[in-house]
Symmetry: C2
Subunit: 318 residues, 2 copies
């Protein structure tokens, strides 16, 4: 198993990516082989400084860097020797089994959608956001901003993708799926949610529990919450701001500390044909370690195989 | 000046509505005349118990009550002697100058839209939600759930209505208007916000400051935040759940205490031809007192006259 990591992506790269690599190798009994993309001499120096020599590490020289605010398609086209571009080339060719970056999110999405492509039957790949819950577990809300305008069918696919992720990565036998809405009963909502409700209800792949409202987002009412990416992105950024406010106000609380989204590492791009994980720009060592572990688990559990099988079933039943 | 109050609306009515009346009369040097709608003998007994005799009180007997979960149009049609139905009849006939209820929100909206009607030029009246900010002031977000699907023109009208409210009721000279969006720059967003941005930017009645994101909602970046009612309602209920969580976790903080939305009383229905205020179902005495004061200020500042004048200008310029 080979996991590719963009060493140059993120506000604190490459120092923190190197720290993440070391923390992963220290913690993992049977680590995956790591393929590190970035400026070889810089990475080698940092690895030496961090005393991280390992037979599990391979460095692929990629001297260019896509900046955090560069135009995604333009940057990828012009910087073919960038760590993101080279990483996706390796992933597309099967030389690595997963690719991780905390760099330019747009460039990561372009790479995922155009170098790797969507799984057959998935019309809109998605990324979600984790939802901390008071019982210590996480929920998953998707879409978190990639798909600002959606059709009912897109939300159904987000529900299937999210359910498979939660089932196989978090070991929840039959994840409860909720439709984010502005009322409890069937028939409530806007045109999109009114049209989506019956599709979710009748889908045999899903454990649909009905509508969930804004007040239910951080509860166990649903394990997977689906919405279009506009509302999802507002929720994500509002949730991040809750943590900013509690920190600023010196409120120390076990639960609200879990609104610090950096700790979760990154989120997978669900619906593309290979494992791709996008990290938060402000990621530090532990986040990179968590992302590498997540990639390993996605590969070990064959999440992609399970998604492909589900969409194969969905298509043949359609 | 006569302010009408539904004595039977809200989870703790009529005891808490009576307490609100007493608190208002105790606090106000020049109180408005209050017209109380509900079961006369019950109200009279409670007024006696609370030792609230006043020449400013008039009781209008309305023996029926619209329940919190009744179907709005059906209930108003069948219960013409209900406190809400009689209250709107009085408001429509000019026998009172404002009407307040913490009862069935749907019935209040139906009453406002059909008994009172929208101001000429306003295509969609709206209700908002208050946004507590760390500097001690409030912002206003609208729409908070009445208009789940919106057109760009609706959002522009929400911005005008919200600006006039904030300017005249909160004495903010030139309220900053923000468009809730999922990116900072013009051109970002979903189809609705992309189409709305240039309309807000070019509207001479507005001090438009651009896009605001989920992280900006509780900041001073904008005094008036506009969005369609789907996202607005999710935000409102999510904000209420923040207070539920901080309370449950015994977090005592001056700022987070202001997420207890009950304290604000109620929100006006903006865009209808007379002052109508809808309270939270869980309202207690102080909320009713605040709503009566809000109605008084709306009348004193002639907010409705100012809204009508603005839409007159808007129409003649269109």
């Amino acid at each position: 198993m080979k996991i590719g990591l963009d060493m140059m992506g993120g506000d604190y790269a490459p120092l923190e990516t190197v720290k993440g690599v070391r923390q992963y190798l220290d913690a993992e009994k049977n680590p995956a082989d790591l393929v590190l993309f970035g400026d070889e001499s810089i990475i080698r120096d940092l690895l030496n400084n961090e005393q991280t020599a390992s037979e599990h590490i391979q460095i692929i020289h990629a001297p260019e860097v896509v900046g955090m605010h560069e135009h995604p398609t333009k940057a990828l086209k012009e910087k073919q020797q960038s760590s993101i571009a080279v990483g996706f080339t390796y992933l597309a060719k099967g030389k690595i089994d997963a690719f991780i970056s905390a760099g330019n999110t747009g460039a990561m999405m372009v790479g995922a959608l155009y170098s790797i492509k969507a799984i057959e039957g998935v019309s809109r790949p998605t990324i979600g956001t984790y939802l901390p819950r008071e019982n210590g577990t996480l929920g998953l809300l998707l879409d978190a901003g990639i798909n600002a305008d959606c059709k009912p069918e897109n939300l159904v696919q987000f529900a299937i993708l999210g359910s498979l992720f939660v089932q196989h990565l978090w070991n929840v036998a039959s994840p409860k799926v909720g439709l984010l809405n502005i009322g409890e009963e069937e028939g409530k909502g806007n045109l999109l949610t009114q049209a989506t409700y019956p599709l979710l209800k009748s889908n045999a792949l899903l454990n649909f529990v009905g509508n969930v409202e804004g007040r239910d987002i951080f509860t166990e009412k649903a394990d997977v919450v689906v919405c279009e990416g506009f509302t999802g992105n507002v929720i994500l950024k509002m949730a991040e701001s809750i943590h900013d406010m509690t920190s600023r106000r010196h409120i120390h609380d076990e639960y609200f500390d879990r609104f610090d989204f950096e700790q979760y590492g990154g989120v997978p791009v669900l619906g593309v044909a290979k494992p791709v994980i996008i990290g938060h720009g402000i990621s530090h060592g532990p986040s990179f370690k968590n992302m590498i572990s997540l990639a390993q688990h996605m590969i070990e559990k064959d999440l992609l195989g399970k998604i492909k099988a589900s969409f194969n079933i969905s298509i043949s039943n359609a």
